[in-house]
């Protein structure tokens, strides 16, 4: 029996939550489970193009540990999830509008496009929804 799709709403820009979203999304996708991630609110700033790792990943004590010990980079994990599995990543259209961002302000070859919350939630009725 096929697994239920996993839907992740990532709205925190904290490094620890961005990392957990990337881990869940990538491992889910490579485990033959369809995964979709909806990036909104402060999380959108973690995906701005050409940001340095220190600017992209801001968090608490665990963030510092992850940087010092070279934990897998969240963007790399998400790209691996897309390459090895069925992972879609959407940029919240409201977050883009409010922040004054366009899709080409975000990291390349990661997002599948902008999307509204209504469509994402409608799709998520078929699966399991996690919010970070």
């Amino acid at each position: 029996m096929a697994s239920k799709p996993l839907y992740i709403v990532l709205c925190s820009g904290e490094h620890e939550k961005v990392q957990m979203a990337a881990m869940m999304a990538s491992v889910g996708a490579v485990s033959e489970r369809a995964v979709e991630v909806f990036v909104s609110m402060n999380a959108i700033f973690a995906f701005v193009r050409d940001a340095t790792p220190d600017r992209r990943y801001r968090g608490g004590a665990f963030s510092q540990f992850m940087k010092e010990k070279h934990a897998p980079d969240a963007l790399v994990l998400l790209r691996q999830g897309k390459e090895f599995g069925d992972l879609k990543i959407w940029a919240c259209s409201m977050a883009l509008d409010v922040a004054g961002l366009e899709m080409d302000h975000l990291v390349e070859e990661l997002f599948d496009g902008p999307l509204g919350m209504t469509k994402f939630l409608s799709d998520a009725e078929a699966g399991q929804l996690v919010t970070l």
Partner: protein, 76 residues
Amino acid sequence: MSERQVIDARGAFCPGPLMELIAALRHSAIGDEVEVWSTDKGSAADIPAWIKKVHHELVSINEADGHWSIVIRKAK
């Protein structure tokens, strides 16, 4: 004839060893084996669970010299 490739993922944090295994399997033929070395404590449970989920074959799993050695045979 089937081959065995060794992936040295010692020092990589979760889910790094799994991702390195998957990358290696993508370039392997059915029947080939991949041996992953990992110091990540979760790998001993995570990788066998992944193998079962996606229907590859677990050949062996051992802990020695401070790391896990997990051998997988590509089944599809």
